[in-house]
């Protein structure tokens, strides 16, 4: 029988595939928000209600704070950064949307194969959680590498982070409240600082395309005649 957690995992996977093909920034941010809500509420769904009774306050607090931060606060922050930096609303792909979709699909197949190889279902709460987590981490890395804008790198990082959290929830890892909130605080602060950085990069470079961010480097090894270009100003 289909349980709520299985439906949630399926939604998560669909969100991964949709992210690979998302061409509008706002749509991509909403997809990340959906993933955030699912990851946030997952501890409650995976709870063993039959034998465990009602979960304690710790689970409720973590679920609430997690879904509020990942599902609402971070997407709002990103949307604000997009507006503030006047980024164009399209995602410019380096790897085309079609190929990205196929790559994510292949990663999903690979994720399920690895999950089966590791006999992961014996030790986890949901059979689907770990393969979906692998796929999501892969999707995050893809978004970081294969899209041009600075903000999509942040988006990719959030997807990667969602995948890792999903893995943690899937293997029923319990850190305790302090660590959960600490991790969340770190992610939140990171996105906050990156948002400010996008704003400043936009003001300084007149663009947020990451291919402008390539002035530093060891150019002297390739072009010995222009070797002091990058150190003078």
């Amino acid at each position: 029988m289909l349980t709520i957690s299985e439906i949630a995992m399926a939604l998560f996977l669909i969100a991964d595939l949709a992210l690979a093909g998302a061409s509008r920034l706002k749509y991509a941010i909403s997809l990340v928000a959906v993933q955030g809500w699912i990851v946030g509420t997952l501890p409650v769904f995976l709870w063993d209600w039959q034998s465990g009774g009602c979960p304690g306050a710790r689970i409720w607090i973590i679920a609430l704070v997690n879904s509020l931060v990942k599902g609402a606060a971070l997407p709002m922050l990103l949307n604000y950064a997009v507006r503030k930096a006047r980024t164009r609303r399209e995602l410019e792909p380096i790897v085309s949307f079609q190929i990205s979709r196929i790559v994510v699909f292949l990663m999903a197949v690979g994720g399920f194969a690895v999950g089966r190889l590791l006999h992961i279902h014996e030790t986890t709460a949901s059979e689907l959680a770990v393969p979906v987590a692998f796929t999501t981490m892969g999707t995050g890395c893809l978004l970081i590498c294969a899209r041009k804008k600075a903000i999509t790198q942040v988006l990719g990082f959030l997807v990667l982070e969602n995948g890792i959290s999903l893995f943690g929830a899937g293997i029923l890892l319990e850190y305790g409240l302090v660590v959960e909130l600490g991790i969340l605080l770190d992610v939140f602060a990171l996105v906050f600082i990156l948002g400010i950085a996008i704003f400043q990069i936009n003001r300084t470079f007149a663009s947020t395309d990451t291919d402008r961010l390539n002035r530093l480097g060891d150019t002297h090894l390739m072009h010995p005649h222009h070797k002091h270009d990058h150190v003078h100003d």
Binding site: T123, F157, I171, L185, A197, L216, H220, L221, V231
Partner: protein, 397 residues
């Protein structure tokens, strides 16, 4: 090893922080005056650098592995704005790369932490190995091990001098300590895999450092690649600790190397910062003939280069001698050959900058900028001579 390293870092990190805080008081007003507006407000700078120190101490003293992860990520977050202190194109780009590359690295470290915690409940060596691989890649990014080091040269060269010194001297050690904590909890079955991984990344880092130091035209990037190289040596030394039967010499060499590298690199980065202020450029080809134009800085710079190349009386000489004497022959041979390249590359830059005729005339520096580096140099030379006098005649190595 874990306890000894923790004790060392608990003493070393505050010492480095104090030295760089003192240098900040002299350096920052001078830099703001010469580099023009756009600097971040100075109270914010001091607040962030103090938070940075706090986050590093938190990382060293964190009671559990996940909490240590939180602390290490925190060090990235509070140090990133410091790199972009000047708020110009180069420093913004360096900060962006630092934040993004380190955060992705650290995200993998979190995944590795989860795998290791899961391995503790299942007891399977395969899970431990997978976990360690991710942890090594993750914290290795932060430690600057090749091939995950790409953020390091940009961040170290763009940051203000005291921040570069703290990044190189203190932060890299903290990340190394994170790897050590994981390595110490690996079961016997996973140990050879972990040591081999550390050894290969270590040798690769020394090689990458050496290659990029040859014909380097930017003296702060040169120091950054030297950090990559020394982190490689530290990784090699640590991998030997696990494989040798009698690891006392290697363990002592490891601790000595960490302490000596941190202090020497602080001296060098602070001097590099002074040169940058005086000449307004990081190009080796412009900063020439220091021996004529700025005698004091020339002494600091050349002695620093000699010390970091592990020439006696540097304490690094003793630790690298320990490595060569204890390691298997092929490891010693490769490391020695690479160290020779490093030596040649660094001495070429060091000599060409201090000797010969000045090309550009520097703007004179206030004397107080040399106080902290001079004190560090005196300390390093005294400690090095004492160390060599103790160890070498005894034939202990």
């Amino acid at each position: 090893m874990e306890t000894a390293l923790k004790q060392l870092l608990v003493i070393l990190t505050p010492a480095l922080f104090a030295a760089n805080l003192a240098q900040s008081f002299f350096y920052l007003p001078e830099a703001a005056r010469r580099e023009g507006g756009g600097h971040m407000p100075h109270p914010l700078y001091y607040a962030l650098i103090t938070l940075f120190f706090g986050a590093m101490m938190f990382a060293i003293l964190a009671p559990s592995l996940p909490l240590m992860w939180v602390a290490v990520e925190l060090t990235t977050l509070v140090s990133a704005p410091l790199i972009a202190c000047r708020r110009d194109r180069g420093s913004l780009e360096a900060m962006w790369k630092y934040l993004l590359i380190c955060s992705i690295g650290i995200a993998f470290a979190l995944f590795g932490t989860m795998l290791v915690l899961h391995a503790q409940s299942t007891g399977s060596a395969r899970w431990y190995m997978a976990g360690f691989a991710f942890v090594l890649a993750g914290y290795g990014t932060k430690m600057g091990l090749a091939p995950f080091h790409t953020w390091l040269p940009d961040a170290h060269s763009e940051a203000p001098a005291p921040v570069s010194a703290l990044l190189s001297g203190a932060l890299l050690n903290c990340s190394f300590f994170a790897i050590v904590r994981f390595r110490e909890m690996m079961p016997e079955a996973a140990a050879p895999f972990c040591d081999n991984a550390m050894l290969s990344l270590g040798i690769l880092s020394v090689a990458v450092g050496a290659v990029f130091m040859v014909r380097q035209t930017d003296f702060k990037r040169l120091l950054a690649y030297s950090s990559v190289e020394h982190m490689g040596i530290i990784a090699v030394l640590y991998s030997l600790c696990g494989t040798l039967d009698d690891d006392r010499i290697v363990a002592a060499a490891l601790l000595l190397h960490i302490a000596a590298h941190s202090l020497t690199k602080t001296l060098l980065f602070q001097t590099a910062g002074n040169l940058l202020l005086a000449f307004g450029t990081r190009a080796v080809s412009v900063v020439q003939g220091l021996g004529v134009s700025m005698k004091g800085q020339a002494v600091l710079w050349l002695s620093g280069i000699v010390l970091i190349c592990a020439m006696p009386p540097s304490a690094l000489f003793l630790s690298e001698l320990g490595l060569v004497a204890s390691a298997p022959v092929w490891v010693s041979a490769i490391v020695l050959a690479l160290l020779f390249i490093v030596f040649a590359a660094m001495m070429k830059v060091g000599l060409s900058m201090t000797m010969g005729r000045p090309i550009a005339s520097p703007e004179p520096l206030p004397k107080r900028l040399a106080i902290v580096p001079a004190a560090l140099l005196a300390l390093l030379v005294a400690a090095g001579i004492a160390g060599c006098a103790f160890v070498l005649p005894g034939g202990g190595v």
